[in-house]
Symmetry: C2
Subunit: 270 residues, 2 copies
Amino acid sequence: MAAWGERLAGVRGVLLDISGVLYDGGEDGGSPIPGSVEAVARLKRSRLKVRFCTNESQKSRGNLVGLLRRLGFDISEGEVTAPAPAASLILKERGLRPHLLVHDGVRSEFDQNDMSNPNCVVIADAGEAFSYQNMNKAFQVLMELENPVLISLGKGRYYKETSGLMLDVGAYTKALEYACGIEAEVVGKPSPEYFRSALKEMAVEAHEAVMIGDDIVGDVGGAQRCGMRALQVRTGKFRPSDERHPEVKADGYVDNLAQAVDLLLQHADK
Amino acid sequence: MAAWGERLAGVRGVLLDISGVLYDGGEDGGSPIPGSVEAVARLKRSRLKVRFCTNESQKSRGNLVGLLRRLGFDISEGEVTAPAPAASLILKERGLRPHLLVHDGVRSEFDQNDMSNPNCVVIADAGEAFSYQNMNKAFQVLMELENPVLISLGKGRYYKETSGLMLDVGAYTKALEYACGIEAEVVGKPSPEYFRSALKEMAVEAHEAVMIGDDIVGDVGGAQRCGMRALQVRTGKFRPSDERHPEVKADGYVDNLAQAVDLLLQHADK
């Protein structure tokens, strides 16, 4: 471990994934991953810049931050890059009127968007709202468009809740892509534009930044393709086979965020 | 049309798709496509061999035939190749114990299969039973297997009911494939084994047979890859863009089954 810790030299900014790194979600709100509350506090007391970069698309950014603060985290809305507010801006810029296939908890992020006579579909991690009826409605909207536009908030395969692994938005996006014969546009990790917007908000260049996440493809692979370094934590949806992933190799693997912060404070910014 | 009708010379056997060719399904049971009841009767009075080859996986074969008989069709269970009975046999041969993600209407086809301690998932057109909870359960069963086996009854993208286009099993199969990083085994069209089993039951060679269906990829493309000829009907889920499909070109396009039978009786078996 010490060997690769030196690869963190020169890091000035840290992007933190939230679910599976800070906490594990669950029906009761979820619980912090041991050591993560203190690890975030230590990072924020250091000279390193910190930003949270999530694909959470079930909750509004405000609700997510409220939950994390109740769990003890020092975090504010302005520090969080989240896909729903990013998508809302993109829709306005492009004159797109969305049909939403989303969880009720995130609907408020689209309050400023015109929903009349939809000319695109926005799909997010809708959880129980991924009913056959709702999926079929989104499918029918797409099939009636001459140029169907499908915007997917992330393309995660699954995430971990306290009760077990749960299907994420990426699986349902694949279903609509296949049924309609189209390809979705992704707003969220691993889209390079999304990582770049988070880096810009932190005012740090890609080669000076490290991403810390539990998703070997979405977090680690995506950040590396943008020129960042990336660590995978062995919490959240991490599975031992991730360390033998055929395509993606993290710059380092750590047991949890606390260990990542130990290493960062020892090696970064030198 | 007359020009390509001659391509039907030498046909001795006809495979008929059911949904979208014989009838359009619907909540009220559905309705026959005009002319199809008579067209089936004329075919069966001719010297041509006839077999029905369906991907219907919401209903048991018995229920499907019962419905079609009530709509006026001359059809019996023994004339129908359907994916659920085929899958049930394959499961027994391979010692597979299925977790079923299927419509209640087809569950009886698996009465002879051992369901204890599942070592595979069978997915069919489950309709409203494609809830998030049921999809997530199937996903979790697969993720707990060392060698996950997913058997999909067909891979259709969508089908047409009287109320509109409906998502088919293929879309949900893609979702599980993506989430688990696996590839499903297909029992049903366009699997070559499935077409061959239907040809064998009709005792006709591929080059002597024609498939008639409404699905340019699953019916037409699949049958052609087996060495059969194939006609697409402009009923059911047919869309005008199918006639410009980038990869599949039917041997002929007909307005409906009645027109296909006119041509067959004129040109086949000569």
